[in-house]
Amino acid sequence: MDIKILGSGCTKCADLEAVTRAAAEDLGIDAAFEKVTDPAEIASWGVLATPALVVGDEVVLSGRVPSPDDVKRLLSER
Protein backbone atom coordinates (compact mmCIF):
# COMPACT_ATOMS: atom_id res chain seq x y z
CA MET A 1 0.00 0.00 0.00
CA ASP A 2 1.37 3.39 -1.02
CA ILE A 3 0.79 6.08 1.57
CA LYS A 4 1.71 9.70 1.08
CA ILE A 5 1.78 12.37 3.75
CA LEU A 6 1.24 15.80 2.21
CA GLY A 7 2.49 18.79 4.16
CA SER A 8 5.36 21.23 4.26
CA GLY A 9 6.92 20.13 7.50
CA CYS A 10 4.55 21.55 10.09
CA THR A 11 4.11 19.76 13.41
CA LYS A 12 0.69 18.51 12.41
CA CYS A 13 2.24 16.76 9.39
CA ALA A 14 4.60 14.88 11.69
CA ASP A 15 1.64 13.99 13.92
CA LEU A 16 -0.29 12.67 10.92
CA GLU A 17 2.65 10.54 9.84
CA ALA A 18 3.12 9.11 13.31
CA VAL A 19 -0.54 8.22 13.77
CA THR A 20 -0.71 6.68 10.29
CA ARG A 21 2.44 4.61 10.74
CA ALA A 22 1.11 3.29 14.04
CA ALA A 23 -2.24 2.43 12.46
CA ALA A 24 -0.62 0.61 9.53
CA GLU A 25 1.51 -1.38 11.93
CA ASP A 26 -1.49 -2.29 14.10
CA LEU A 27 -3.42 -3.44 11.06
CA GLY A 28 -0.46 -5.42 9.77
CA ILE A 29 -0.45 -3.47 6.51
CA ASP A 30 2.75 -3.46 4.51
CA ALA A 31 2.89 0.23 3.65
CA ALA A 32 5.41 2.35 1.79
CA PHE A 33 5.45 5.88 3.17
CA GLU A 34 6.34 8.94 1.18
CA LYS A 35 6.46 12.54 2.37
CA VAL A 36 5.37 15.16 -0.12
CA THR A 37 6.58 18.62 0.86
CA ASP A 38 6.55 20.39 -2.50
CA PRO A 39 3.66 22.91 -2.34
CA ALA A 40 2.98 22.65 -6.07
CA GLU A 41 2.60 18.89 -5.84
CA ILE A 42 0.48 19.18 -2.70
CA ALA A 43 -1.78 21.63 -4.50
CA SER A 44 -2.03 19.40 -7.55
CA TRP A 45 -3.66 16.75 -5.38
CA GLY A 46 -6.46 19.28 -4.88
CA VAL A 47 -5.51 19.69 -1.25
CA LEU A 48 -6.11 23.17 0.21
CA ALA A 49 -5.25 22.54 3.83
CA THR A 50 -2.38 20.45 5.09
CA PRO A 51 -1.70 17.92 6.49
CA ALA A 52 -3.34 15.53 4.06
CA LEU A 53 -3.23 11.80 3.60
CA VAL A 54 -3.11 10.03 0.24
CA VAL A 55 -3.64 6.29 0.03
CA GLY A 56 -2.89 4.79 -3.38
CA ASP A 57 -3.85 7.61 -5.69
CA GLU A 58 -6.70 8.97 -3.65
CA VAL A 59 -6.81 11.79 -1.11
CA VAL A 60 -8.60 10.35 1.90
CA LEU A 61 -8.16 13.10 4.46
CA SER A 62 -7.09 16.72 4.57
CA GLY A 63 -6.80 19.64 6.92
CA ARG A 64 -6.61 17.82 10.22
CA VAL A 65 -4.90 15.14 12.25
CA PRO A 66 -7.27 12.20 12.64
CA SER A 67 -7.70 9.97 15.67
CA PRO A 68 -6.00 6.54 15.54
CA ASP A 69 -9.43 4.90 15.01
CA ASP A 70 -10.14 7.21 12.09
CA VAL A 71 -6.91 6.33 10.32
CA LYS A 72 -7.45 2.62 10.88
CA ARG A 73 -10.88 2.88 9.33
CA LEU A 74 -9.52 4.86 6.38
CA LEU A 75 -6.73 2.35 5.81
CA SER A 76 -8.81 -0.77 6.23
CA GLU A 77 -11.44 0.54 3.80
CA ARG A 78 -8.88 0.24 1.04
Binding site: W45, G46, L48, A49, T50
Partner: protein
Protein backbone atom coordinates in the same frame (compact mmCIF):
# COMPACT_ATOMS: atom_id res chain seq x y z
CA UNK B 1 -17.92 22.70 -7.61
CA UNK B 2 -21.08 20.73 -7.02
CA UNK B 3 -19.59 17.54 -8.40
CA UNK B 4 -17.04 17.36 -5.61
CA UNK B 5 -17.06 14.14 -3.79
CA UNK B 6 -17.71 15.15 -0.19
CA UNK B 7 -16.13 12.20 1.46
CA UNK B 8 -16.40 11.86 5.17
CA UNK B 9 -13.15 12.64 6.92
CA UNK B 10 -14.16 10.96 10.14
CA UNK B 11 -17.32 9.85 11.80
CA UNK B 12 -17.22 6.24 12.78
CA UNK B 13 -15.19 7.15 15.85
CA UNK B 14 -18.34 7.94 17.78
CA UNK B 15 -20.04 4.59 17.25
CA UNK B 16 -18.13 2.93 20.08
CA UNK B 17 -19.29 5.53 22.59
CA UNK B 18 -22.86 5.20 21.35
CA UNK B 19 -22.75 1.47 21.98
CA UNK B 20 -21.69 2.03 25.58
CA UNK B 21 -24.51 4.43 26.31
CA UNK B 22 -27.84 2.95 27.31
CA UNK B 23 -30.07 5.70 25.93
CA UNK B 24 -29.83 8.89 23.87
CA UNK B 25 -30.18 10.83 27.11
CA UNK B 26 -27.23 9.22 28.85
CA UNK B 27 -25.24 9.56 25.64
CA UNK B 28 -25.94 13.29 25.70
CA UNK B 29 -24.92 13.47 29.36
CA UNK B 30 -21.70 11.63 28.60
CA UNK B 31 -20.90 14.04 25.81
CA UNK B 32 -22.03 17.37 27.24
CA UNK B 33 -21.55 16.71 30.97
CA UNK B 34 -17.79 17.27 30.88
CA UNK B 35 -18.30 20.36 28.70
CA UNK B 36 -20.75 21.83 31.22
CA UNK B 37 -18.46 20.97 34.14
CA UNK B 38 -15.51 22.58 32.38
CA UNK B 39 -17.57 25.68 31.61
CA UNK B 40 -18.63 26.00 35.28
CA UNK B 41 -15.05 25.56 36.50
CA UNK B 42 -13.88 28.09 33.94
CA UNK B 43 -16.41 30.65 35.13
CA UNK B 44 -15.46 30.15 38.78
CA UNK B 45 -11.75 30.55 38.05
CA UNK B 46 -12.37 33.64 35.94
CA UNK B 47 -14.66 35.16 38.52
CA UNK B 48 -12.30 34.63 41.45
CA UNK B 49 -9.04 35.37 39.65
CA UNK B 50 -8.63 38.89 41.01
CA UNK B 51 -9.87 38.24 44.58
CA UNK B 52 -7.63 35.18 44.77
CA UNK B 53 -4.42 37.00 43.79
CA UNK B 54 -5.39 40.01 45.93
CA UNK B 55 -5.76 37.67 48.87
CA UNK B 56 -2.64 35.58 48.23
CA UNK B 57 -0.20 38.35 47.31
CA UNK B 58 -1.39 41.19 49.52
CA UNK B 59 -3.01 39.49 52.51
CA UNK B 60 -0.99 36.28 52.85
CA UNK B 61 2.40 37.30 51.44
CA UNK B 62 2.09 40.88 52.65
CA UNK B 63 3.08 42.69 49.43
CA UNK B 64 2.11 46.35 49.32
CA UNK B 65 -0.49 46.86 46.56
CA UNK B 66 0.71 50.42 46.06
CA UNK B 67 4.40 49.56 45.73
CA UNK B 68 6.06 48.98 42.36
CA UNK B 69 6.91 45.42 43.26
CA UNK B 70 3.44 44.63 44.53
CA UNK B 71 1.80 46.15 41.46
CA UNK B 72 4.08 44.32 39.01
CA UNK B 73 3.83 40.92 40.68
CA UNK B 74 0.06 41.21 40.92
CA UNK B 75 -0.17 42.32 37.27
CA UNK B 76 1.89 39.29 36.22
CA UNK B 77 -0.06 36.56 38.05
CA UNK B 78 -3.46 38.08 37.45
CA UNK B 79 -2.82 38.60 33.74
CA UNK B 80 -1.26 35.17 33.16
CA UNK B 81 -4.29 33.50 34.72
CA UNK B 82 -6.79 35.70 32.96
CA UNK B 83 -5.26 35.35 29.51
CA UNK B 84 -4.78 31.61 29.83
CA UNK B 85 -8.44 31.23 30.80
CA UNK B 86 -9.65 33.47 27.99
CA UNK B 87 -7.49 31.69 25.44
CA UNK B 88 -8.62 28.20 26.52
CA UNK B 89 -12.30 29.06 26.59
CA UNK B 90 -12.50 31.03 23.38
CA UNK B 91 -10.20 28.83 21.31
CA UNK B 92 -12.28 25.81 22.32
CA UNK B 93 -15.57 27.41 21.31
CA UNK B 94 -14.15 28.91 18.11
CA UNK B 95 -12.57 25.62 17.04
CA UNK B 96 -15.76 23.66 17.60
CA UNK B 97 -17.79 26.23 15.64
CA UNK B 98 -15.19 26.42 12.90
CA UNK B 99 -15.19 22.66 12.46
CA UNK B 100 -18.36 23.23 10.45
CA UNK B 101 -16.38 25.32 7.97
CA UNK B 102 -13.45 24.41 5.75
CA UNK B 103 -11.16 25.98 3.18
CA UNK B 104 -12.79 23.72 0.57
CA UNK B 105 -16.19 25.15 1.36
CA UNK B 106 -14.83 28.70 1.33
CA UNK B 107 -13.33 28.17 -2.11
CA UNK B 108 -16.63 26.83 -3.40
CA UNK B 109 -18.37 29.93 -2.00
CA UNK B 110 -15.82 32.26 -3.60
CA UNK B 111 -15.72 30.60 -7.01
CA UNK B 112 -17.35 32.79 -9.62
CA UNK B 113 -17.65 35.85 -7.37
CA UNK B 114 -16.80 39.21 -8.86
CA UNK B 115 -14.19 41.46 -7.37
CA UNK B 116 -15.56 43.89 -4.84
CA UNK B 117 -18.28 41.69 -3.40
CA UNK B 118 -15.84 38.79 -3.71
CA UNK B 119 -13.20 40.68 -1.73
CA UNK B 120 -15.61 41.41 1.09
CA UNK B 121 -16.85 37.81 1.10
CA UNK B 122 -13.27 36.52 1.11
CA UNK B 123 -12.34 38.75 4.05
CA UNK B 124 -15.38 37.57 6.03
CA UNK B 125 -14.72 33.94 5.18
CA UNK B 126 -11.07 34.41 6.14
CA UNK B 127 -12.24 35.06 9.68
CA UNK B 128 -14.53 32.04 10.06
CA UNK B 129 -12.57 29.45 8.08
CA UNK B 130 -10.16 27.25 10.03
CA UNK B 131 -6.86 27.97 8.32
CA UNK B 132 -3.20 27.73 9.23
CA UNK B 133 -0.76 29.99 7.42
CA UNK B 134 1.39 26.89 6.90
CA UNK B 135 -1.22 25.91 4.26
CA UNK B 136 -0.99 29.31 2.56
CA UNK B 137 0.80 28.01 -0.53
CA UNK B 138 -1.41 25.01 -1.42
CA UNK B 139 -4.46 27.13 -0.63
CA UNK B 140 -3.20 29.94 -2.86
CA UNK B 141 -2.57 27.56 -5.75
CA UNK B 142 -5.87 25.80 -5.16
CA UNK B 143 -7.83 29.06 -5.17
CA UNK B 144 -6.14 30.64 -8.17
CA UNK B 145 -6.04 27.45 -10.25
CA UNK B 146 -9.76 26.97 -9.57
CA UNK B 147 -10.47 30.44 -10.94
CA UNK B 148 -10.82 32.54 -7.79
CA UNK B 149 -9.43 35.99 -8.77
CA UNK B 150 -5.99 36.92 -7.41
CA UNK B 151 -7.27 39.93 -5.44
CA UNK B 152 -10.08 37.90 -3.86
CA UNK B 153 -7.58 35.21 -2.86
CA UNK B 154 -5.38 37.89 -1.30
CA UNK B 155 -8.32 39.28 0.70
CA UNK B 156 -8.74 35.82 2.19
CA UNK B 157 -5.03 35.45 2.94
CA UNK B 158 -4.88 38.89 4.60
CA UNK B 159 -8.01 38.54 6.75
CA UNK B 160 -7.27 35.02 7.95
CA UNK B 161 -4.21 35.80 10.11
CA UNK B 162 -5.19 39.40 10.90
CA UNK B 163 -8.57 38.66 12.45
CA UNK B 164 -7.49 35.54 14.31
CA UNK B 165 -8.86 34.20 17.55
CA UNK B 166 -5.69 34.60 19.63
CA UNK B 167 -5.43 38.29 18.74
CA UNK B 168 -9.13 38.80 19.39
CA UNK B 169 -9.04 37.04 22.74
CA UNK B 170 -6.05 39.03 23.91
CA UNK B 171 -7.48 42.33 22.75
CA UNK B 172 -10.75 41.56 24.47
CA UNK B 173 -9.05 40.48 27.68
CA UNK B 174 -6.71 43.44 27.84
CA UNK B 175 -8.61 46.30 26.20
CA UNK B 176 -12.31 45.38 26.30
CA UNK B 177 -14.90 44.82 23.61
CA UNK B 178 -14.99 48.31 22.06
CA UNK B 179 -11.41 48.14 20.85
CA UNK B 180 -11.88 44.50 19.82
CA UNK B 181 -14.86 45.45 17.66
CA UNK B 182 -12.87 48.28 16.10
CA UNK B 183 -10.02 45.89 15.43
CA UNK B 184 -12.21 43.29 13.74
CA UNK B 185 -14.05 45.88 11.65
CA UNK B 186 -10.91 47.64 10.49
CA UNK B 187 -9.21 44.29 9.82
CA UNK B 188 -12.07 43.32 7.53
CA UNK B 189 -11.96 46.68 5.75
CA UNK B 190 -8.18 46.51 5.25
CA UNK B 191 -8.37 42.94 3.90
CA UNK B 192 -11.22 43.82 1.54
CA UNK B 193 -9.64 47.02 0.22
CA UNK B 194 -6.07 45.71 0.01
CA UNK B 195 -7.21 42.62 -1.92
CA UNK B 196 -9.34 44.79 -4.19
CA UNK B 197 -6.39 47.12 -4.89
CA UNK B 198 -4.11 44.18 -5.67
CA UNK B 199 -6.78 42.82 -8.02
CA UNK B 200 -7.21 46.21 -9.74
CA UNK B 201 -3.47 46.51 -10.28
CA UNK B 202 -3.64 43.40 -12.47
CA UNK B 203 -0.57 41.75 -11.04
CA UNK B 204 -1.25 38.23 -12.33
CA UNK B 205 2.00 38.48 -14.30
CA UNK B 206 3.89 38.56 -11.00
CA UNK B 207 2.45 35.24 -9.91
CA UNK B 208 4.76 32.32 -10.67
CA UNK B 209 3.45 30.88 -13.98
CA UNK B 210 3.24 27.29 -12.72
CA UNK B 211 0.34 28.29 -10.46
CA UNK B 212 -1.94 28.87 -13.45
CA UNK B 213 -0.74 25.66 -15.07
CA UNK B 214 -1.41 23.50 -12.02
CA UNK B 215 -4.01 20.87 -12.82
CA UNK B 216 -6.09 19.92 -9.84
CA UNK B 217 -6.45 16.19 -10.12
CA UNK B 218 -7.27 14.94 -6.64
CA UNK B 219 -10.71 14.42 -5.20
CA UNK B 220 -11.84 17.07 -2.77
CA UNK B 221 -11.96 15.89 0.82
CA UNK B 222 -13.94 18.37 2.86
CA UNK B 223 -12.69 18.08 6.45
CA UNK B 224 -15.83 19.70 7.86
CA UNK B 225 -18.10 16.90 6.67
CA UNK B 226 -18.91 13.69 8.50
CA UNK B 227 -17.66 14.66 11.94
CA UNK B 228 -19.59 13.69 15.04
CA UNK B 229 -20.00 16.06 17.99
CA UNK B 230 -17.45 13.99 19.85
CA UNK B 231 -14.97 14.56 17.03
CA UNK B 232 -15.63 18.29 17.04
CA UNK B 233 -15.28 18.57 20.83
CA UNK B 234 -12.05 16.58 20.66
CA UNK B 235 -10.75 18.95 17.98
CA UNK B 236 -11.53 21.87 20.29
CA UNK B 237 -9.62 20.30 23.18
CA UNK B 238 -6.64 19.46 20.99
CA UNK B 239 -6.50 22.94 19.51
CA UNK B 240 -6.45 24.54 22.97
CA UNK B 241 -3.58 22.24 23.98
CA UNK B 242 -1.67 22.89 20.75
CA UNK B 243 -1.98 26.67 20.91
CA UNK B 244 -1.16 26.93 24.61
CA UNK B 245 1.85 24.66 24.13
CA UNK B 246 3.05 26.84 21.27
CA UNK B 247 2.59 30.27 22.79
CA UNK B 248 3.14 29.93 26.52
CA UNK B 249 6.80 31.04 26.49
CA UNK B 250 5.91 34.20 24.53
CA UNK B 251 2.94 34.80 26.76
CA UNK B 252 5.02 34.57 29.95
CA UNK B 253 7.83 36.76 28.61
CA UNK B 254 5.36 39.30 27.21
CA UNK B 255 3.42 39.54 30.43
CA UNK B 256 6.61 39.72 32.49
CA UNK B 257 7.90 42.60 30.34
CA UNK B 258 4.50 44.22 30.57
CA UNK B 259 4.62 43.90 34.34
CA UNK B 260 8.08 45.51 34.44
CA UNK B 261 6.98 48.42 32.27
CA UNK B 262 3.87 48.68 34.38
CA UNK B 263 5.84 49.17 37.56
CA UNK B 264 9.08 50.79 36.50
CA UNK B 265 9.07 52.69 33.21
CA UNK B 266 8.06 56.32 33.78
CA UNK B 267 5.25 57.75 31.70
CA UNK B 268 7.35 60.76 30.69
CA UNK B 269 9.63 58.45 28.69
CA UNK B 270 6.77 57.27 26.51
CA UNK B 271 5.30 60.69 26.16
CA UNK B 272 8.58 61.60 24.53
CA UNK B 273 9.20 58.50 22.43
CA UNK B 274 6.00 56.72 21.43
CA UNK B 275 3.30 59.30 21.22
CA UNK B 276 4.36 61.70 18.46
CA UNK B 277 3.22 61.49 14.83
CA UNK B 278 6.01 58.98 14.08
CA UNK B 279 4.49 56.55 16.58
CA UNK B 280 2.36 54.74 13.99
CA UNK B 281 5.06 54.08 11.36
CA UNK B 282 7.50 53.07 14.09
CA UNK B 283 4.94 50.68 15.57
CA UNK B 284 4.26 49.11 12.15
CA UNK B 285 7.98 48.87 11.37
CA UNK B 286 8.57 47.05 14.65
CA UNK B 287 5.49 44.89 14.30
CA UNK B 288 6.30 43.20 10.99
CA UNK B 289 9.28 41.09 12.15
CA UNK B 290 7.51 40.11 15.37
CA UNK B 291 5.54 37.27 13.92
CA UNK B 292 3.40 34.72 15.80
CA UNK B 293 4.01 36.48 19.02
CA UNK B 294 0.64 38.18 19.29
CA UNK B 295 0.50 36.40 22.62
CA UNK B 296 3.77 37.90 23.76
CA UNK B 297 3.34 41.29 22.22
CA UNK B 298 -0.12 42.24 23.42
CA UNK B 299 0.49 42.24 27.18
CA UNK B 300 3.49 44.43 26.40
CA UNK B 301 1.31 46.72 24.32
CA UNK B 302 -1.22 46.94 27.12
CA UNK B 303 1.48 48.26 29.40
CA UNK B 304 2.59 50.73 26.71
CA UNK B 305 -0.96 51.93 26.27
CA UNK B 306 -1.25 52.34 30.01
CA UNK B 307 1.74 54.65 29.83
CA UNK B 308 0.10 56.80 27.19
CA UNK B 309 0.61 55.11 23.80
CA UNK B 310 -2.47 56.16 21.78
CA UNK B 311 -5.10 53.64 20.71
CA UNK B 312 -4.50 53.96 16.96
CA UNK B 313 -0.83 53.19 17.44
CA UNK B 314 -1.76 50.21 19.59
CA UNK B 315 -4.07 48.86 16.87
CA UNK B 316 -1.55 49.45 14.09
CA UNK B 317 1.16 47.65 16.02
CA UNK B 318 -1.09 44.69 16.76
CA UNK B 319 -2.21 44.40 13.15
CA UNK B 320 1.28 44.54 11.71
CA UNK B 321 2.41 41.83 14.12
CA UNK B 322 -0.23 39.34 13.03
CA UNK B 323 -1.00 40.33 9.42
CA UNK B 324 2.46 40.81 7.96
CA UNK B 325 4.75 38.00 8.92
CA UNK B 326 8.16 37.20 7.50
CA UNK B 327 7.68 33.40 7.58
CA UNK B 328 4.49 33.70 5.56
CA UNK B 329 6.22 35.97 3.03
CA UNK B 330 8.98 33.41 2.65
CA UNK B 331 6.39 30.66 2.09
CA UNK B 332 4.50 32.79 -0.43
CA UNK B 333 7.73 33.42 -2.35
CA UNK B 334 7.13 29.96 -3.84
CA UNK B 335 4.11 31.27 -5.72
CA UNK B 336 4.55 35.06 -5.81
CA UNK B 337 7.41 36.98 -7.34
CA UNK B 338 9.24 39.39 -4.99
CA UNK B 339 7.65 42.39 -6.71
CA UNK B 340 4.20 41.07 -5.86
CA UNK B 341 5.18 40.29 -2.27
CA UNK B 342 6.56 43.81 -1.92
CA UNK B 343 3.33 45.25 -3.33
CA UNK B 344 1.31 43.08 -0.95
CA UNK B 345 3.32 44.30 2.06
CA UNK B 346 3.17 47.91 0.92
CA UNK B 347 -0.60 47.85 0.35
CA UNK B 348 -1.37 46.14 3.65
CA UNK B 349 1.09 48.28 5.63
CA UNK B 350 -0.45 51.41 4.12
CA UNK B 351 -3.89 50.23 5.16
CA UNK B 352 -2.68 49.51 8.68
CA UNK B 353 -1.00 52.89 9.01
CA UNK B 354 -4.08 54.69 7.71
CA UNK B 355 -6.12 52.85 10.36
CA UNK B 356 -3.62 53.86 13.04
CA UNK B 357 -3.64 57.53 12.06
CA UNK B 358 -7.41 57.54 11.73
CA UNK B 359 -8.02 56.17 15.21
CA UNK B 360 -5.33 58.36 16.75
CA UNK B 361 -7.18 61.34 15.30
CA UNK B 362 -10.70 60.17 16.18
CA UNK B 363 -10.42 58.43 19.54
Amino acid sequence: MSSHDRRAGGGAASSSTAALAASPFSAAVRRWGPVAAAAATWWLLYRFNRPFWDWLLFDVLGLDPLSRLGESVHFFFYDVTKITLLLSGIIFVVTVLRSFMSVERTRALLGGRREGVGNAAAAGLGVVTPFCSCSAVPAFIGFVAAGVPLGVTMSFLIASPMVNEVAIVLLYGLFGWQLTTLYIASGLVIATVAGWVIGRLGLERWVEPFVFETRLRGKIVDPSVGLSWDDRLAMGREEVATILRKIWPYLLVGIALGALIHGWVPEAWFAEHAVGPMGVPIAVGMGVPLYSNAAGVLPLVEALHDKGMPMGTVLAFMMSVVALSLPEMILLRRVLQPKLIATFVAVVATGIMATGFLFNAVL
